[in-house]
Amino acid sequence: MTDASAPDHPQGPGEAARVLEGEARPLHPAAIWLWTLETALPLLLLVVVAGLHPFLALAFLAALLALNWVRYRLFRWRVEPDSLVIERGLLHRRRRVIRRDQIQTVDLERGVRHRLLGVVEVRVEAIGAGGTEGKLAALDGLTAEALRRILLSGPAPTPFVGEAEAPAPGEILARVSPGRLVLAGLTGSRVGVAAALVGFLLQFVPEEVLVQLLEPRVPDVPDPSPAVAVALVLGIVGLALLAGFVLSVAATVVVHWDFTLSRADGTLWVQRGLLTQHRDSVPLHRIQAVRVEENVVRRVLGFGAVRAIVAGRAGPSEDRGADLLLPVGGRKEAFDLAEKVIGLGDAPAAPLQPMPPGARDRRLVRAAAAAVVAALVALAGAAAVAGPGWLAPAGFTVVGGILVGGPAAALALSGYRALGWTDLGTHLVVREGVFNRRSSFVPVDRLQELVTRTSPFQRRRGLATLHLRTARPVARGFTPRAVDLGEEKAEELRDGLPRRIRRTEPGSPRARVRRM
């Protein structure tokens, strides 16, 4: 079993032919160990922590092994002409039939355990009411590759005859170096950003204030001047934050190690991971929209990330990361990739139109309101603390107002400038976000539904927000939207875009009745 990359091409006709044959096949025996290992760890914890008698644990483990052996013997899977069938279960016999024309992704995963045992885990996801999922806990690499190729090649499999076919990665669209991944971790981690902010702000807090705040909370240490004690506490907190930060950066690097995005036929392949290797597939026709994300830090440095909405992924795709097409890349690289994936190809980048000035005014008014509130709070505080005289409270009020109003206004303007949209005919592009600027590319053909939402404040200024609803997973996803568009324009798009959608859904909608 090769280690660095995923298993290479199968033995050719033999393996694939047998997968095609439709005979019921077992898992790799390593499944017994994998299943047992899942329970072994908690068991170990119980022994160590709760003092469970080791012999008892061993006996339990042995029983578990036996059980899993039976489970392994009863597990059968096979490939039929139009479906993948999985039969399993000891007491409760379960038969899952996954229609091949509904199979959306076939992911191969190799965690550390899998690699030690020389196997691969296969996960199949399909769309359809409920989003069925099938999992083959352990297969040898050759079979897994063959199975994946067959399941993704469509309902009518082509028999493998003749020369062996290497799973060509196809055209490589992006590859992220370790250095870039460190950058991704440094600039992407919320902990990191938060820690940076906290550290930055702490500089401005005078030491005496910190001492006053922390002194009562510092435990009784035999000597020390308050300053030492405070320094100690701050040091510990700082170290904890730093450790957390470093860990999250390391995690990012490990999870996305050697991130490679490639395209073969109609599918995107994402290969990544150091400890657990992932090879995830993203069928292009399931991509509903693509988004370029530039958070504050990355925008300054000129980097961005690319994410896709992939329809129908049931379950948590957070750990799969298959909707992340590029963890980090140069700005131009990110936008070029997004445009390429979504089908805009080499079209020249069209500039985004700004939203009506009312959108800016709205935000400025909110900033002003925040400033007023801050001023009032400062006034109240000053009145409570300073006592008689009007000079001090007045000063506090003004300072409070400015301290909050200044940044609030800056944020408001920044928020307005981040807004933008354009209609490219076949695609719509919308953008929003102050701290995380998100530019979404939505093909008109992917639109499912259009919604305009107006708050009373928006209506006063003749604005509306247009939501571009596409098919998307429930677990995570985003709805691209044009925020604070002119009301007329929003309605025009809302009523006009549906007419530009060409019918793709086969058949009429199914009618059902539901009684509650």
């Binding site: 329809a311 639109l447 499912q448 539904e449 259009l450 919604v451 305009t452 939402r453 107006t454 708050s455 009373p456 209506r459 609803r469 596409t470 098919a471 998307r472 997973p473 429930v474 996803g477 309605e491 809302r494 009523d495 549906p498 007419r499 959608i501 060409r502 019918r503 793709t504 859904e505 086969p506 058949g507 009429s508 909608p509 199914r510 009618a511 059902r512 009745v513 539901r514 009684r515 509650m516």
Partner: protein, 173 residues
Amino acid sequence: MAPGGGEGGPRTLDPRVRIAWWIAGTVRAALATAAAVAADVILPRHLDAWPTGWFPVTVGLLSFGLALVLPPVRFRRWRYHLRPHDVWIRRGILWVAVSVIPYARLQFVDTEQGPLERALGLASLVVYTAAPGTSGRIPGLDAEEAEELRERVAHLDETPGTELPRHGEAGGR
């Protein structure tokens, strides 16, 4: 307000839906008030204080008041329109949302009836697309009309540029 086309303009819901909303609102208000009373009686015991009484009264007034006032307002604001190529639904009092769902995107069309609606002879028409969650819901339709609409929408032509088939009789309203 609404674009023209289709058979007549946007339509309102069946007036009976207000009754359903009144009943539901009253039940909710009663529950909220009961909870407020319970909180007002139990919490002070822990804090060694006396029940104030004003908390449940406020909650009661607010919730019953809203239950009384909202249904007719909601009813007046709700509009739906089955246009040649899509469904148009407008809802909301202060925060207004207008949804447009192309027939070309419909996957399921449901009629739904809760016990309250059944008692009043009403039903909701719910349409689903591939977008998650309910795409469009038209509550408070006359039950027969809802069934009729569901059948019409369910039997859309398969040719591109799908249009809602013309209905023989305009039916009610």
